[in-house]
């Protein structure tokens, strides 16, 4: 098996090359088949890697070649498949394959079909590299690569200026985070003289002293900065909603299921480093919780179906970070898995709706689609129930695990977390009800055009819906008769940080109570959404109408973009203008031009001395000689 590991990323790369080079030659059918089949092949190989780990329990570590070697310092190009990356491989290739399949239907009318599949394959390649790398540098290649593909795909319809801007915004915000990650890697190399996980993590545990604590805090904070960029946390979250400019399958694959979870993967991977620094853990928990709440509040009033889902993603990522911050690594990663299922499902469902509605994304203009799109409705309903945390769907188990651990560490955070879960349930059902129930509010033409999507779209929906429903059973808690399969599976990965985290045992009665609270909260929000949007048939007001103050704030995303504009862009612009006008134009240009002008002007004056009079020349010569003599002989 070890010999075939390299094929997992190489197959999508081959797909990228074939589709990219043959995008104008090959037919759409061939491109779609190649693009999807390479991912399916990678998925099969990933399953076999997973099976091998399952049977031996040993991580697979393969070194292919020495990549960077300076003296004793050595960065090999090596892959590591352990319990953590094996699951990531399955998500990336599995969900990735479904989304490729979906894309063959969704993008079938697009001119850039070949280009799209080439980019999508390239993305999968980089994402696989990210999770397969056995050191931080290989991870960083994938890290940068997925950022690039995200940029390329957000700006896929680049002829629209807004879309191109959204792509640039995503790219720049990611770069800000990447800088933090990169500095952290340099620091790690500086301290440990290696970038390999196997070298660094055991050493971190042995470190002692106040000096070390500071260094570890610094490194972990910088790593976290990298994670905030990729995983869209405060303050670097505003790019993700804008990223919805890309094709919907891209939103599902990149901006819900895989790339945005890279930050969580990275922190889970480096869990020892984070566990060593309680300060960073606190910061992560607070930032995660704040992001979860802020994004949920914004999602409450959005009217673009994809924007609701985008803010929901930001919010759910916030939950994952909250889980990481309170030391519930398994819980956070559990949520990564279930979220990959139901959020991909929801995005693909939204895509199916948009497809049926002839590119209409405003939920105010939908309604009553339940009968027209029965499969889409049924699958999206399952996704919505899953994300809202209603048992026994998958989201309940993962979110509950995070909330239970949050309760252990801070009761305030727990309450806020439950409020966030309530908001989640409300805005998700709001979106579902507005889209699928009531009467149709769009144009006649759209109504006439409504149709269920082709099989290439509905099959992935159905598969993901099944996964969303049953996905939670991989980690059923003890009190519900489960065996914590995922926790046991991931135990080797988090073994080193286990002793560093304080664990208080929760009474089974408390645990039942906590579950009851979160389920109750979800149902209250569901009921409120039902009353408001089905019984009272409320429809969000048009953009021109006045909103109450809070709703207005939420609708305008709390003016965060404007705030950044004011705090960062405006001063930067002013600074650039200052540098351009004062430093460059006056300072540097003035100096250079001044030298030239000074030479010209002074020579105009000096030229007059050259009267051409021989007698005067000789006189000057004599004066000069006398002067030299005086100077040299010091008379």
């Amino acid at each position: 098996m070890n010999n075939y590991l390299w094929l997992i990323p190489i197959l999508p790369l081959a797909g990228f090359l074939i589709n990219g080079l043959g995008r104008n030659v090959l037919s759409k059918g061939v491109i779609g088949t190649i693009g999807s089949l390479v991912i399916l092949a990678s998925f099969c190989l990933s399953v076999s890697a997973f099976a091998q780990i399952n049977s031996t329990g040993q991580p697979i570590n393969v070194t292919y070649f020495t990549w960077i070697k300076v003296g004793v310092f050595n960065i090999p190009f090596a892959f590591l498949v352990d319990q953590l990356s094996a699951i990531m491989l399955l998500i990336i290739t599995g969900v990735g394959f479904l989304i490729h399949l979906y894309s063959t239907g969704y993008m079938s009318h697009d001119k850039g079909f070949g280009k799209y599949f080439a980019y999508l394959n390239l993305f999968v390649f980089f994402m696989l590299l990210l999770v397969l790398g056995s050191n931080f540098v290989v991870m960083f290649i994938g890290w940068e690569g997925v950022g690039l593909c995200s940029y390329l795909l957000i700006g896929f319809w680049f002829t629209s200026g807004d879309y191109a801007d959204a792509a640039k915004k995503a790219f720049v915000m990611n770069r800000i985070g990447d800088l933090g990650f990169l500095i952290a890697i340099f620091l790690l190399i500086h301290f440990f003289n290696s970038a390999s996980y196997a070298d660094i993590f055991p050493k971190v545990r042995g470190l002692q002293g106040p000096h070390v604590a500071l260094g570890i805090t610094l490194i972990s904070m910088l790593l976290f900065v990298g994670a905030t960029g990729k995983s869209a946390q405060i303050p670097l979250f505003t790019w993700l909603p804008d990223a919805m400019a890309g094709p919907t399958p891209v939103s599902a694959l990149i901006h819900a299921a895989t790339m945005v979870t890279a930050g969580i993967y990275m922190i889970a991977r480096a869990n020892v480093i984070f566990s060593m620094s309680p300060v960073t853990m606190h910061v992560i928990a607070i930032v995660g919780l704040a992001t979860a709440l802020l994004a949920a509040l914004i999602a409450l009033t959005q009217t673009d179906i994809k924007k609701v889902l985008a803010y929901s993603t930001v919010s759910q990522l916030g939950y994952m970070f909250l889980g990481l911050g309170v030391g519930a690594y398994t819980g956070a990663f559990f949520h990564v898995i279930t979220h990959a299922f139901f959020k991909a499902l929801l995005f693909l469902g939204a895509g199916s709706v948009i497809h049926a509605m002839s590119n209409e994304q405003d939920i105010r203009k939908m309604g009553g689609l339940r009968t027209k799109l029965p499969i889409t409705f049924a699958t999206m309903l399952m996704g919505t129930i899953a994300i809202s945390g209603i048992p026994p769907f998958s989201g309940f188990f993962s979110k509950d695990e995070i909330l239970a651990h949050t309760f252990e560490s801070s009761h305030t955070m727990y309450v806020l977390g439950v409020i966030g879960a309530m908001l989640t349930s409300f805005y998700m059902f709001r979106m579902l009800f507005l889209t699928f129930s009531g009467s149709f509010r769009g144009t006649h033409e759209q109504e006439h055009h409504l149709h269920e999507s082709p099989w290439s779209i509905t099959v992935p929906l159905i598969v993901l819906a099944i996964l969303s429903v049953v996905g939670g059973f991989i980690n059923v808690p003890h009190i519900m008769g489960g065996n914590h399969w995922l926790q046991n599976w991931l135990e080797p990965v988090f073994k080193l940080s286990e002793p560093l985290l304080a664990h208080t045992e929760t009474e089974p009665s408390t645990e039942w109570l906590l579950m009851g609270i979160s389920v109750g909260a979800a149902f209250i929000a569901l009921f409120y959404a039902y009353v408001k949007y089905i019984k009272n048939k409320h429809v969000p007001v048009a953009d021109t109408e006045e909103r109450p103050l809070l709703a207005n704030l939420s609708y305008h995303k709390f003016y965060i973009d404007e705030l950044y504009d004011f705090l960062i862009r405006k001063p930067l612009d002013a600074l650039s203008v200052f540098f351009y006008k004062v430093v460059d134009k006056m300072g540097i240009d003035g100096l250079v031009n001044g030298l030239g002008n000074g030479t010209v002007e002074s020579s105009k004056g000096l030229r007059l001395l050259q009267a051409g009079n021989v007698g005067f020349y000789i006189f000057m010569m004599v004066i000069g000689i006398i002067a030299i003599l005086f100077y040299r002989l010091k008379f």
Partner: protein, 109 residues
């Protein structure tokens, strides 16, 4: 040879220096104040000869022949220079009908 040495040494070195300085100054003054190019040339010769005399005097007093070798060099170079300089002056005269250096203000840019 001995006689010449004695003859030269009959006059103290200071006198030579003073004399040469005077002749040199006369040469410099001539160069500076005269307007006729040929007279200026003659003044230059005067300066060169003042230096030559001084070289010869020092050579004798020091008992070192190299000073006299320099004299020969200066003479040879002066002769060459005069040949070239006079040729230029002759050409200038042919073109301008004058050797007045105040008229010769053509050495401008």
């Amino acid at each position: 040879m001995g006689n010449i040495t004695q003859t030269i040494q009959a006059v103290p070195l200071n006198h030579y220096i003073l004399f040469c300085a005077i002749i040199f100054a006369i040469g410099v003054t001539g160069v500076l104040i005269r307007r006729n190019a040929i007279v200026i040339f003659m003044s230059v010769e005067l300066m060169l000869n003042a230096v030559n005399l001084l070289l010869a005097a020092f050579s004798v007093y020091k008992g070192d022949a190299s000073g006299q070798v320099f004299v020969f060099f200066v003479m040879a170079l002066a002769a060459a220079e005069v040949a070239v300089g006079l040729a230029i002056i002759v050409m200038i005269y042919r073109n301008t009908n004058s050797t007045d250096i105040n008229v010769l203000n053509r050495l401008k840019w």
